[in-house]
């Protein structure tokens, strides 16, 4: 879907045809979900967050000034939402469940019986490792790597979405790539 088509749909939504927004969701849901999934290591949470981003975008649609592409604007909302989510998550402390038996302290493990639906899609171990390693990257590198090497955004678009200058984008892309390459190499994947 081109930017012109996006604008047509947006005009229709703003004119009162709310159902037209479904086309925008369908068009961008995979891209948004992939980015969110790279930020959150929980499938269900990523689903909720993706929906939340689309609802926020719909609510803010009237403030879209059309100075940039709709996709760039949507990605900005998505990136900021995830950034805020990370900030909030860091404030939550995880308390291990420990029990003392005799002299030993045993940590209780509560197994998650649910299967990650993605794992049935990601058959190959190599891709699972790549996913893990991307998730383990520092925030700045992960953001930029996902936008560039998974979503295929241009350097300029990334600059707009992340609100950083172009040379900074270049530096972060180089470092992020080098970081990931070294980690995958260390795990014998490349």
């Amino acid at each position: 879907m081109s930017d012109i088509e996006d604008i047509k749909i947006i005009d229709s939504v703003l004119a009162g045809n709310m159902q037209a927004y479904g086309d925008i969701v369908r068009n961008y849901q995979d891209r948004v979900f992939r980015y969110v999934r790279s930020q959150v290591n929980n499938y269900d949470e990523a689903m909720d967050m993706t929906q939340e981003i689309f609802i926020m975008t719909l609510e803010a649609l009237s403030s879209f000034r059309r100075e940039s592409k709709f996709s760039t604007w949507l990605y900005s909302i998505m990136v900021n939402y995830c950034k805020n989510f990370r900030k909030k998550s860091r404030r939550i402390f995880e308390v291990p469940l420990n029990v003392t038996r005799g002299d030993r302290e045993i940590e209780l493990q509560i197994p998650d019986e649910r299967q990650d639906p993605e794992d049935s899609v990601i058959k190959e171990d190599s891709l699972r490792i790549v996913k893990e390693e991307i998730y383990g990257l520092p925030d700045d590198y992960r953001d930029i790597l996902v936008l560039r090497d998974i979503e295929g955004l241009s350097y300029n678009e990334i600059s707009e979405v992340l609100d950083i200058n172009l040379s900074n984008v270049k530096v972060r892309i180089h470092r992020g790539r080098e970081f990931l390459k070294n980690r995958l190499y260390a795990r014998g994947l490349i």
Binding site: Y21, R26, D30, F33, E118, V121, I122, V130, L189, I190
Partner: protein, 225 residues
């Protein structure tokens, strides 16, 4: 080209960001000929290739549009409801405020009324040492005194010596200031020696004078406010 190709150059080469064709060819030639740079560039390409593979496998497998639209509509309704709730709450507050304000006005009105009534009542109670002219005039009439003058400061009159004692007691008993003068020796037209002492219970030497005057004599007096 001197030395190996930096990672930044390799990354730019991958993205097609080497500006000059000459430099691009030079870097490519070096990578082909240098085993170290070749393996490094191969790793980069493989790494980024895996990222692209991941893109196709990382999908939600679900259509969000339905649930997004449902949630959005629900929130819109909830917002409208909240807005209605706020409006209702604001109305209640305004009505409450008006009631309180008007109640306060009523209270203030009642207070003002009460104050007026009290003031009226206070006015009617003669202050000690001072009284209304009418009261004094009433007393004087009771004692059959002739009232000759009433001013803002005093009531002037005359009374036969025989009645003076009673008048003196009555006025003193009510704490009313009065003065008198012995003018039985002076012509009735003038003030003679003038007024002496003023104040209840302060009758001095002169007060006893009228008692010794012959019958038919009178005392001129002034009762002060």
């Amino acid at each position: 080209m001197s030395g190996h190709v930096t990672f930044e150059k390799m990354s730019d080469l991958y993205d097609g960001l080497i500006p000059s064709e000459e430099e691009k060819n030079e870097i490519s030639r070096h990578i082909e000929s240098c085993p170290l740079c070749y393996s490094e560039f191969s790793r980069l390409k493989k790494c980024l290739g895996l990222c692209l593979e991941l893109k196709s496998s990382m999908a939600s497998t679900l259509d969000f549009s339905g649930s997004v639209m449902r949630k959005a509509l629900f929130r819109k309704r909830r917002k409208r409801l909240f807005r209605f709730g706020y409006a209702a709450a604001a109305s209640v507050l305004i009505i409450f405020g008006v009631t309180v304000f008007s109640g306060r006005n009523d209270i203030e009105r009642n207070l003002a009324k009460l104050e007026t009534e009290n003031a009226e009542q206070v006015k009617e109670v003669p202050e000690k040492g001072h009284t209304k002219s009418e009261t004094v005039i009433g007393i004087l009439r009771n004692h059959k005194a002739d009232i000759t003058r009433v001013t803002g400061e005093y009531v002037e009159g005359r009374i036969p010596v025989s009645g003076y004692i009673g008048l003196q007691k009555d006025l003193s008993g009510r704490g009313i200031n009065f003065g008198f003068m012995d003018d039985y020796l002076v012509p009735q037209t003038g003030w003679g020696m003038g007024i002496e002492e003023v104040g209840a219970g302060q009758i001095t030497r002169e007060s006893s004078a009228p008692y010794h005057q012959p019958d038919g004599q009178y005392v001129r007096f002034r009762v002060y406010r």
